[in-house]
Symmetry: C2
Subunit: 347 residues, 2 copies
């Protein structure tokens, strides 16, 4: 089959991989319909985080092609969402609600399984991992939103949930990448009244407004802090969502969070210091991390199917597997917020 | 009046201060019954944290001597607990439940007010700050427990509340100082089933057991981590309470916290790095800080009066104002867990 291959920093190619086969009775083989490129794939692409050489891509939806003897929850022909990690559903972390930290899990495009940027994937623990999508004949728009539930929409949701966003809150979202934009959707969905999005890119600003941002700030760093404190009567926001993962973004998030609030952080950290004095002397907590996607999908899926939220709008670039190289470079050069890869058909 | 005076690192003396007077109609003057020495006073004593030269001591109970014209909630003769900070009760932080971060507040023995290690204190915002103690004729044992509600018991409680300790949890308490011991009380009170106290001091170990610790570990650092992981099936504890404030104690707390849990931290930080990779990749949160004591006292006070909890047992050294120098040195040399200062009479 055809699949995207990571050959090291800057080296993405369309190559060949053996067709995946059922190995365990709990496996399913899924034919990929849509994949996409994640912000974290860019860290690998840039050589700023390590990734095994070989298949890549951890976000996809697809159609079940074959199932192992013990698989009960999905069958050949079922349209499914794959969380970006597979999980056994039974270990102590899964049982506690943290499937992305499954003791026997791993992420797609890694840990011996194929990636979502290829034609097919063997999915371990299929019953625990995959979420069947009800209905049929979904529009391209719906399908694009469904693939965001693999990671980016659930990750934005995790930032908002971790920060405890609730009805009537003022929220600031630091980061205008796809996850930051999804965090805007999540904050609005959880009832935030005021949502301040930090962005200096006109297209992303427009999308943030469409998703529910009430205020857009082009300022960064100390200037952004001063502006937000000014906008909030000197108090800061009830929830600051850190959706970048750099030292500056974390510092900004803590500087605009009001006393007693929680910074919800989901950015993979690169040279980040947590301002411990702010934690202790202003009682500002820090929560977040790798999103427990498998737990969140059932909660968010109905809203996608009813078009209450349209996270697929983060895709402003689409191509086929043949265009995979430019799918990466478009994001790397910030020509695209997020690249969709159309691989197979859902129906 | 007589009062303890901080003259710089290593310089604690019993000196003279003018008798405090009502300055604002919302003030009360309180005659101190019991004061004590806090672990944070030792940071000043050792020159490791700054403190204004002059009166010192932020924990006390006392009897109201005089009230300003607008004070309604307490009157001459009322036995009161003073939280370690005064607060106006109306600012946005107070309204949100964070009185120790009051925008118009400050701590006793600082910010222009006398300290609790002296004969009397002018208390700003008396109605918002002071908590009257019901009943009369309280025993010395009860009075000692009441003064812990000024800070140390409420601070241990804050560690447990911040970590989200709930019924049936396994909890580890890092730190066997008075706050760590009070955190043991708090964890038990909130329903923790297993409480692992880290201590290598026999007297503190015994007190931890008396307060509810089910396991005592003398190990530190990596050895403590290995032991606790072993005790918890490799998973870690549901709540790790960081009650020291050093780099090692924070590292230990994060290393023993299970995926998805929260480190409850209340130690004033000295050279602390938060392991951000653990936060993000194991979804371990960090909450805590300066305890909102004024909010917690009404919740804990009945338990003290009914002797359900006996935090006053942390005092293993007692003296009068004349013995203030040794009250500090006993704690500094770890001869004492916490020093009680008997200053006046309650009845």
């Amino acid at each position: 089959m055809r699949a995207t291959i990571y050959g090291g920093p800057g080296d993405i190619t369309l190559g060949e991989r053996p067709d995946p086969q059922i190995r365990q009775p709990t496996d399913a083989v899924v034919r990929v319909v849509l994949g996409c490129v994640c912000g974290s794939d860019l860290w690998y692409y840039r050589g700023e985080s390590p990734h095994a050489l070989g298949p890549i891509g951890h976000e996809f939806i697809g159609v079940v092609e074959e199932t192992g003897a013990e698989v009960r929850g999905v069958k050949r022909g079922t349209l499914v969402i794959a969380p970006f990690t597979f999980c056994d559903g039974t270990c102590s972390n899964c049982a506690a609600g943290w499937p992305s930290n499954c003791l026997n899990g791993g992420s797609f495009g890694n840990h011996g399984v194929d990636g979502g940027q290829g034609e097919a994937v063997r999915v371990p623990f299929a019953d625990a991992t995959l979420v069947p999508v009800p209905g049929s004949g979904h529009s391209d728009e719906t399908l694009a939103s469904l693939v965001t539930l693999s990671d980016v929409m659930c990750t934005g949701h995790h930032a908002a949930v971790s920060a405890g966003v609730k009805d009537g809150d003022s929220v600031a979202v630091v980061g205008d990448g796809a996850v930051g934009l999804c965090a805007v959707i999540a904050a609005k969905r959880l009832g935030a009244e005021r949502i301040i999005a930090l962005s200096r890119n006109p297209a992303r600003q427009a999308l943030a407004r469409e998703f529910g941002a009430t205020d857009i700030l082009a300022e960064r760093g100390d200037e952004a802090t001063a502006k937000i404190l000014d906008m909030t009567g000197g108090i800061g926001v009830e929830a600051a969502l850190e959706c970048v993962g750099t030292g500056q973004s974390m510092a900004t998030a803590f500087s605009i969070a009001r006393v007693g609030s929680i910074v919800g952080a989901i950015g993979a950290p690169h040279d980040v210091q947590v301002p411990i004095d702010t934690v202790i002397f202003r009682n500002i907590g820090l929560r977040g991390g790798v999103s427990p996607v498998r737990r969140y999908i059932p909660e968010l899926l109905p809203d996608v199917l009813e078009h209450k939220i349209n996270p697929g709008r983060v895709f402003d670039y689409a191509t086929s597997l043949d265009g995979i190289v430019d799918a990466y470079t478009a994001m790397n050069e910030r020509r695209a917020v997020k690249s969709l890869i159309r691989i197979g058909t859902a129906n």
